[in-house]
Each structure stands twice: as structure tokens, then as C-alpha cells.
């Protein structure tokens, strides 16, 4: 079997060549610097840094909170995308336009604003406080910050896909008496799933590395509310570039494996879907 399946479409050489070149220059070269810097560091030191109790606790927090945030985003992001595409209501266009704000607002601003809202003297915080619910300076605050910064990924991935779902197909199915839930499960979901999975993946990936907004709303207490990117900053503060690179490398490795798994699952799902249709 050859590297590529034959196709009558042109442009593979040009686009594939440009893609790999640009990818190499912008992404792989800098990341090579990270890997080389890690490799140049004393291996015992690298191991001590990446396997310390604090580092392990921070992986649990960073990856756990990110997974939770991405899942929340997958559910609510889908609902929001659905609402924006399918329903018309006053203010829809404005809300639609505001969806990208978590990206445009510098992370520090989101962090400060969220902390202001959820701190014990904030708009929401003061109502949560009597119930003993503390959001700011706890892991809940971290999840909220990570949910906010990942939201546009899911909404913006699902929106175009939903818009392109074949309404005729849907209508036909409904006319033929298929229930709403059946239509959703058999027609809409399969079509939107790749985009939803992409949005989830991106929201998750973004959350894992986030620093700017979390630092304001997390208490930054060792072993409790200390995220991995903060540990990297602490290493840098000690002029320990090797240790910082090592932590960065571990995060990169875990993220890479998780992303690759999701992408492979998606490719597998797509092949099954195509197989079904044929």
C-alpha cells in the first residue's frame, strides 16, 4: 500500500508540502529546543523534578480540572451552539458575537474579573459564601477559569457543523415519523460528533497549559491548588531552566498521548461511519 490513497483531486503536493514546512518551522523547531534542553539536563535532576510529590499533585490537579472543564464545555458548548444556530431570539446576534471574548480578553483580565465575581465579597461569591461554597482560591475556581477559556472552542467547532447538518434529511426523517430523540441520535449527533470531539480536545488541551487566569483565582498553595505551569514558573525563578524544560516536556508528552488517542479514536469513528453509509 502506498503512502497515500489515489484521488482525482489535485493539490496534495503543494498543500501537504506547505503544511509540513510551516509546521516544522513554527512548531517542531521550537519544541525541539525544549526536548534538547531537557535531554541536556542531568537525568537524576530531571527525574527528581518531574516525580516530586508536588509535581504529581499538580499533574492530578491540572489534568483533572482540565478534563472536568472540557467535559462541562462539551455539554454546555453544544447546547449553546444549538441554541445559536437553531433558534432566533432577541439578542442572539450579540450573544453569538460575544462567544469569542474569552480568547480576546487577556487571560489576566479574565482571571481578575472571575476572582472579583466569585470572591467572598463578589457578586456571586457573597451568595455562595453562606452555603459554605468557596469558589475563588479553591479547585472549583480553577475549573471555572478553565471552562471559561475553553468555551469558544466547542461552540465555534460545533456551530458550522450544525449549520451544515442536512435539514432535508432531518425533515424527511421526521415526516416519516421518526421521534425527535431518534433524529438527534441517528442523524444530528453523528454529523456533529467530529466537530464536538475536536472542540473538546482543544478545550482540554488549552486548559492543561493555562497559567494567566488560573493564577489569580487559584490559591496557589503547594499540593492543594498549585497547577503544573506554576511549578514551571517556580523552576524558572530558581534559574533552573533544565527543570522547567523537563516539566514542560512531561506536560507535552502527556498531552501528546491524550491528543493522539482522541484523534485516532476520531479517525476510527469516521471510518466506521463512512463504512456504515456505504
Amino acid at each position: 500500500m502506498s503512502f497515500r490513497q489515489p484521488s482525482i483531486l489535485p493539490g496534495f503536493g503543494l498543500t501537504f508540502g506547505f503544511t509540513t514546512f510551516f509546521l516544522g518551522a513554527v512548531v517542531l523547531l521550537p519544541l525541539t529546543a525544549l526536548v534538547v534542553r531537557t535531554a541536556m539536563t542531568d537525568w537524576h535532576h530531571v527525574w527528581d523534578v518531574v516525580s516530586s510529590a508536588r509535581a504529581l499533585a499538580s499533574y492530578r490537579l491540572s489534568f483533572g480540572a482540565s478534563l472536568l472543564a472540557a467535559s462541562i464545555n462539551a455539554v454546555f458548548g453544544f447546547i449553546i451552539a444549538w441554541t445559536l444556530v437553531r433558534y432566533d431570539f432577541p439578542g442572539r446576534k450579540i450573544i453569538d458575537a460575544l462567544i469569542d471574548m474569552p480568547f480576546a480578553l487577556p487571560t489576566a483580565v479574565s482571571g481578575i474579573a472571575l476572582t472579583a465575581v466569585f470572591a467572598q465579597n463578589g457578586w456571586f461569591g457573597k451568595y455562595l459564601e453562606p452555603f459554605g461554597i468557596k469558589v475563588a482560591y479553591t479547585w472549583i475556581g480553577i475549573v471555572i477559569a478553565l471552562t471559561l477559556i475553553g468555551l469558544p472552542f466547542v461552540v465555534r467547532s460545533v456551530q458550522p457543523a450544525l449549520a451544515e447538518v442536512q435539514r432535508d434529511l432531518e425533515d424527511a426523517a421526521e415526516t416519516l415519523g421518526a421521534g425527535r430523540f431518534y433524529v438527534f441520535l441517528r442523524i444530528i449527533l453523528p454529523t456533529v460528533l467530529p466537530s464536538l470531539a475536536t472542540g473538546f480536545t482543544m478545550a482540554f488541551a488549552r486548559a492543561v497549559g493555562e497559567y494567566g487566569s488560573v493564577i489569580f483565582i487559584a490559591g496557589n498553595l503547594p499540593l492543594k491548588t498549585e497547577i503544573t505551569p506554576l511549578l514551571i514558573v517556580i523552576r524558572l525563578e530558581e534559574f533552573d531552566y533544565g527543570g522547567a524544560a523537563a516539566l514542560g516536556f512531561v506536560m507535552l508528552l502527556i498531552s501528546f498521548v491524550m491528543l493522539l488517542t482522541i484523534n485516532l479514536l476520531q479517525a476510527w469513528g469516521r471510518r466506521r461511519l463512512v463504512g456504515d453509509r456505504r
Partner: protein, 291 residues
């Protein structure tokens, strides 16, 4: 078909009498209220904080915030950076999605994962890698200094870091969309004798326009809002290498809360730009259709 079109459609659907009428209205209101509640708590409240603080002392201090020359320099630097980064990543996104979605080849998932990677890299690390390469202690640092070339702590470093951080945005928006849409129409066009470019512009581009619009908007928003990576390579020189996000942090740290949030509120103008672009695309589409 998209956006505007389907809304007309759904309105018809909702008003259609029959057993689904009530259910449909119920579903509609459930979806809208859940969406609004979620967005209100997570997005609108923080945004409102920004505006309440920015206008907290009235209109005068709000507008006075922009008269500062350092603020103007920061806004300019951010716009320049976005103007370089967004077109580059858009071209990349189009090329990558064509290569990946239109063809079947080995290692596709691997390639997609590599494109995803910059999102997963912590901004702190995204900045650090350029320091490792171009810093005085890095690979090329001494050589660059001897030749009087500044990369980090100058515009090129800020552009590189931003390019890295926003790299996947357009591509990742387009790849799943193009995969979902399939190749049939393009293959038909080619069979009928259309050229590659013509097929792309006349068949593919119209189909992916929303994905492209969202991708560009996201990429641009992120390019303008990036803080962490840029902070590492900027050097924080006032009026010279401070981007808007960095300048906002500085103002905030100077207890200039009004100015800080006034500059931040400027970034919400991007939402207005989004609105204009989307309306424009929708309007043009509708216009052509009616004709």
C-alpha cells in the same frame, strides 16, 4: 443553509401545528434559558465587571485612559502583531485542511496531533522555547548579538510567540468541517473539467465559509489576547514592547483600575467586528440568493 437560513427554517418548524408543537416550544425555551444562564454566570458577569470598573468613574476618565502614549503604543503593537500572524496562520489552515481532509494518507492522526500541540503547550513554555533558541544563553543568542539582530525582547519575538500560540486555530476549525462535508462535489467539479484553484474557490470555499470565518476570528482574538507566552519574550519595555494584554496588567498593578479595564474593554470591540463580519457574509449570501 447556514446561520440565517436555518433560523427561518426553525421558526417555521416551531410554528408548525401538530403533536410536536408543544414539545418543540418547550425544547426551544429550555435550550435558550440553559444557554443564557450558563453564559451569564461564566461569561457575562466577568465582562460586566470589566465594564463596570472601566466606566466606574464616568466617561471622562474612561476616555482619558486612551490618551496615554504608552497605551497607544501597546495598541499599535498588538494590531501589528495580529496583522502579521493571522494571515499566515489562515493560509496555513487552508493548506493543512485541504491536504488532511481531502486525501487519505498514512500518519494522518499523527499529523493532526502535531498541529494540535501548540494549544496544549503551556504559554510559559511557548515563550521559554524562544528564549532557549534566541536568548543570550541560547543556541543562536551570541551570534544574533554580534550581528545586532534582536529577536526576543523585540517585535520578531512577540510575533513568533504569537504565531506559535495561535498556530492551530484556523486549521482545526476547518479540518473536521471539510471531513464532514466530503469530497463528492469537488470530485464532480474536477471531473467536469474545473481546475484545482477554481474548484477550491467556487466549490470548497463557499461550503466552509463559516468555519473559515470562525477560525480567523478565533485566531485573531487569541493573537490579540495572548498574555503568557508574549510576557516571557517581550521584556516589558514600556511604550516599546508591551502589547495590550501586558499593558493592561501593568495598569492594573499601578492601581489604575479604570485605565486597565478601559483598555480591556477595547478588546470587546472585537465582538463588534465579529458581528459586522458575520452580518456582512450573511447579507451578501442572502442578497445573492434572492437574485
Amino acid at each position: 443553509m447556514a446561520g440565517h437560513g436555518s433560523n427561518v427554517h426553525s421558526a417555521e418548524l416551531a410554528s408548525r401545528p401538530g403533536r410536536d408543537g408543544l414539545m418543540s416550544a418547550l425544547a426551544r425555551w429550555t435550550f435558550i434559558s440553559v444557554s443564557l444562564a450558563f453564559l451569564a454566570a461564566l461569561l457575562f458577569a466577568p465582562l460586566a465587571t470589566v465594564f463596570v470598573t472601566a466606566f466606574g468613574k464616568g466617561l471622562g476618565p474612561y476616555f482619558a485612559s486612551f490618551s496615554d502614549s504608552d497605551t497607544a503604543a501597546a495598541i499599535k503593537l498588538t494590531l501589528i502583531t495580529a496583522a502579521i500572524v493571522v494571515p499566515l496562520n489562515t493560509i496555513f489552515g487552508l493548506a493543512a485542511s485541504w491536504a488532511i481532509a481531502k486525501f487519505d494518507f498514512k500518519g494522518k492522526s499523527f499529523l493532526i496531533t502535531l498541529i494540535d500541540l501548540p494549544i496544549a503547550v503551556s504559554p510559559v513554555i511557548s515563550g521559554l522555547v524562544y528564549v532557549l533558541m534566541f536568548g543570550l544563553q541560547g543556541w543562536f543568542g551570541a551570534w544574533l548579538q554580534d550581528h545586532n539582530i534582536s529577536i526576543i525582547f523585540a517585535l520578531p519575538g512577540i510575533v513568533l510567540a504569537t504565531l506559535f500560540v495561535t498556530f492551530p486555530y484556523v486549521a482545526r476549525e476547518l479540518i473536521p468541517l471539510m471531513e464532514q462535508l466530503g469530497n463528492d462535489e469537488e470530485e464532480a467539479a474536477i471531473t467536469l473539467g474545473a481546475g484545482g484553484w477554481m474548484t477550491f474557490f467556487r466549490v470548497t470555499l463557499p461550503k466552509i465559509r463559516w468555519g473559515l470565518v470562525y477560525g480567523v476570528i478565533l485566531c485573531n482574538a487569541r493573537a490579540m489576547g495572548e498574555f503568557g507566552a508574549v510576557s516571557v519574550v517581550s521584556g516589558h519595555i514600556r511604550g516599546l514592547t508591551n502589547t495590550m494584554p501586558l499593558h493592561i496588567e501593568i495598569l492594573y498593578n499601578e492601581y489604575a483600575f479604570v485605565s486597565a479595564f478601559a483598555v480591556a474593554s477595547l478588546l470587546t470591540l472585537l465582538a463588534v467586528a465579529t458581528l459586522v463580519i458575520k452580518t456582512l457574509v450573511e447579507w451578501r449570501t442572502g442578497y445573492r440568493r434572492r437574485r
